[in-house]
């Protein structure tokens, strides 16, 4: 039984925590939060690119570090802990994973090195309106060389250079790779609940695009991308939950009411203990997700769902 990260992975995590404590300190996060014109922190983005994090799971032949998904998981936990205001999840968990999963050799060779260097910011465009999308509800349309339709909302769609778009393609659905810096693409920034991320409406009016993966396989591929990203986002949530618990615990020790630290009251202790239990459940499920992701196990869809469900409970409900 070795259900834990290796010492090397743990030291990568420590390194990441130190780096982010400085470069993604709370004033950096607030700097993005409070500035509507700013969708991410560019200095931090350059910093993580220099650290090699953007290419941690990208093979060396494509400019990455060629480590693996477990290394990506430990970074994700730290990024979630720091609420790092950068388009990391969109670029790394969605865009790069979609490229590695479905891209041709030529596409990988063209795109991945620029992801690893930080030059390309990616996003993943699926939603088109209220309600969960399905294979038959997708209306954005790819005709073999151009893309037409509307995607809303697209996380980091305001700052991304490229998108992977889920689009109708003949009788089926395909993934499509689009350069967003062309006149046939219009972006509108959206007001959302989460100011640490930019969100946009993307309108494609005959935008030049190319297929990613086989025609008609897009829905199946999108589900695989979502499974992979679910595990990684679960790690961000575990990191976020953990730091919330630590901050709440520190506060409960130093805040006095009725002449005692409020943390000496059982009403407060039990709330914090409940948070701890939920985080342990979430962390354990996330580790299982990490195992399934890194070994490409058949259990990945289940493990990804359990990771996300448990992490969302820990982060939001408790």
């Amino acid at each position: 039984m070795n259900f834990d990260f290796s010492d090397d992975q743990k030291s990568l995590k420590d390194q990441a925590r130190k780096f982010l404590a400085d470069k993604s300190a709370i004033k950096v996060v607030r700097g993005v939060l409070d500035d509507e014109a700013k969708s991410y922190d560019e200095a931090l983005w350059r910093g993580v690119a220099e650290m090699g994090w953007l290419g941690v799971a990208i093979p060396e032949e494509h400019g990455g570090l060629g480590l693996g998904r477990l290394e990506l998981c430990v970074l994700a936990e730290e990024i979630g802990r720091a609420v790092a205001p950068i388009p990391f999840s969109s670029t790394v968990y969605f865009f790069a994973e979609a490229l590695m999963l479905a891209g041709s050799d030529a596409q990988k060779a063209a795109v991945l090195p620029k992801v690893a260097s930080g030059e390309t910011i990616g996003c993943f465009a699926l939603s088109e309106g209220p309600g969960a999308p399905t294979a038959s509800s997708i209306s954005a349309k790819f005709d073999g060389s151009t893309l037409t339709g509307v995607k809303i909302p697209v996380t980091d769609g305001d700052c991304a250079t490229h998108a992977v778009v889920v689009a109708k393609d003949g009788g089926g659905v395909s993934l499509v790779l689009v350069d967003l810096n062309q006149p046939a693409v219009t972006r509108t920034t959206l007001k959302t609940l989460d100011p640490t991320r930019g969100h946009a409406k993307l309108e494609f009016k005959g935008a030049k695009a190319e297929r990613l993966g086989a025609a008609g396989q897009g829905w199946d591929l999108a589900e695989q991308v979502l499974d992979r990203a679910a595990v990684l986002i679960a790690f961000e949530q575990v990191g976020g939950s953990q730091v919330c618990l630590e901050m709440a615990t520190e506060y409960a020790k130093s805040r006095y009411a009725f002449s005692r630290p409020i943390g000496s009251f059982q009403a407060i202790k039990h709330k914090l203990a409940d948070m701890y239990v939920s985080i342990e459940v979430a962390r354990s499920n996330a580790y299982y997700g990490a195992w399934a992701l890194s070994t490409e196990a058949a259990e990945l869809p289940f493990a990804a769902a359990a990771s996300r469900a448990a992490a969302s409970d820990a982060y939001y409900r408790d």
Partner: protein, 411 residues
């Protein structure tokens, strides 16, 4: 990251499997039901036979020192054996308290002659032990016990009452927490003894539980004489002795005790949905609950894998193992309640000949609330997590610096 045993662990696991296959039946609902219907005396005999075979094969006291008849292996081996044993119908319940908690305490606080007298017999299943701590007015606050021990020459004379004593009805010996000095602070006036459960003055009254079982007892002591040589630890040091016992408790009280998500999943495939439209398993609100149970049960199972990994690397798991009972007992209640409600009016019937799963959901429904109390209530476990894991300050203590006899006790 992998789920594989280290080579020596794998070898041990296959030895354990071979032993279990030779001596037990694989777990099945039918077998469990049969066992529930075994007469207590038959079950006890089967349990003692099994414990003797375990000892002979080297699977009793796996982590105990060799000089105590154990095998001297690290805790991970005990976890591996328990995992394998859990797949079989093992009649091991009568020994879990004695070997899991009491005899550890005897080993830690006795002289060689006492250890020679008791330890090997306990390990071979010849003598069964119980733990006599809780009292009517000392539950979560177990140091508030009032059972009195008064020195008389070379003996002590004991009077008082214990309650919720698991297995007292078939135990040969117990470890007994007594008040020897009411004039000092609560925690400083306690003393621990070994007591012979078969002697004059010890009266065991079974408690008939709401779940139908009779596993617990009240135990009354009337002028019971115990020699001073049976004292465990110095007079007044009983609380320190009890802490050693209780440290082992939450390792002993673990695992799953009743129908889990797998049982209710199968059950839901064969019963109408309350909407009258299809089966319960097709009902969206049921499926959401089922998914939550799976996530929490699997999360706890996976958390134990993390504990095993720590054990396997020679690290000691801390009080974080307290999360198990908080998750399991509450989930057991919820699953049982859902299964019974789904049966509509029929759900009131708990007759094993008529109820689904021979009434296992009903059994669990009535037993789970007790499990939320046994071995540390939900509230106490949450205090432990808050204080020992998160480092929050202790509650204000009103019993510090006050003699036990002057503490308000309600009755």
């Amino acid at each position: 990251m992998d789920f594989n045993d280290a080579p020596e662990e794998a070898k041990f696991r296959s030895e354990a499997r071979a032993f279990l296959e030779a001596n037990l039946q694989p777990k099945s609902n039918d077998q469990e039901r049969l066992q529930r219907r075994l007469k207590p005396a038959e079950y006890l005999k089967a349990a003692k036979d099994y414990q003797r075979k375990k000892a002979e094969a080297g699977f009793a006291g796996i982590t105990w020192a060799k000089e105590q008849g154990g095998r001297g292996l690290p805790p991970i081996y005990s976890v591996i054996f328990n995992q394998e044993e859990g797949k079989f119908d093992a009649p091991s319940a009568p020994f879990s308290i004695g070997l899991g908690m009491c005899v550890h305490t005897v080993i830690a606080f006795s002289d060689e002659a006492t250890k020679d007298r008791y330890v090997a017999k306990a390990l071979r299943g010849e003598e069964i032990w119980c733990q006599l701590f809780s009292e009517p007015a000392a539950g979560s606050d177990v140091a508030a016990g009032k059972t009195k021990a008064v020195r008389d020459g070379d003996d002590w004379i004991i009077n008082g009452q214990k309650v919720w004593t698991t297995g007292a009805q078939f135990s040969d010996f117990g470890i007994l927490l007594t008040r020897t000095n009411p004039d000092v602070e609560k925690h400083k006036g306690l003393t621990m003894f070994i007591v012979d459960m078969k002697q004059k003055g010890v009266e065991v009254r079974p408690i008939h539980q709401a779940s139908g079982g009779r596993e617990f007892n009240e135990v009354y002591f009337t002028d019971v004489r115990v020699p001073d040589s049976w004292r465990l630890g110095d007079p007044g040091m009983g609380w320190n002795v009890a802490l050693v016992t209780l440290m082992n408790e939450r390792l002993a009280v673990g695992g799953s005790y009743g129908p889990d998500y797998k049982e209710i999943f199968d059950f839901a495939k064969g019963i109408n949905s309350p909407s009258g439209d299809g089966t319960l398993i097709q009902d969206e609100s049921f499926r959401q609950k089922l998914a939550d149970w799976i996530v929490r049960a699997e999360g706890y199972k996976l958390a134990k894998f993390r504990t095993m990994t720590a054990l396997s690397k020679g690290q000691t798991p801390g009080p974080e193992s307290s999360i198990g009972k908080v998750i399991n007992a509450n989930q057991m209640m919820d699953i049982a309640n859902t299964a019974i409600e789904a049966q509509d009016h029929y759900g009131i019937i708990n007759d094993p000949d008529l109820a689904p799963l021979e009434g296992a959901f009903h059994q669990s429904y009535m037993f789970a609330p007790g499990l939320r109390i046994a071995g540390g209530t939900d509230e106490i476990l949450k205090n432990i997590i808050a204080e020992r894991v998160l480092g929050l300050p202790q509650d204000v203590r009103v019993d510090k610096g006050v003699a036990f006899k002057d503490l308000p006790s309600g009755r």
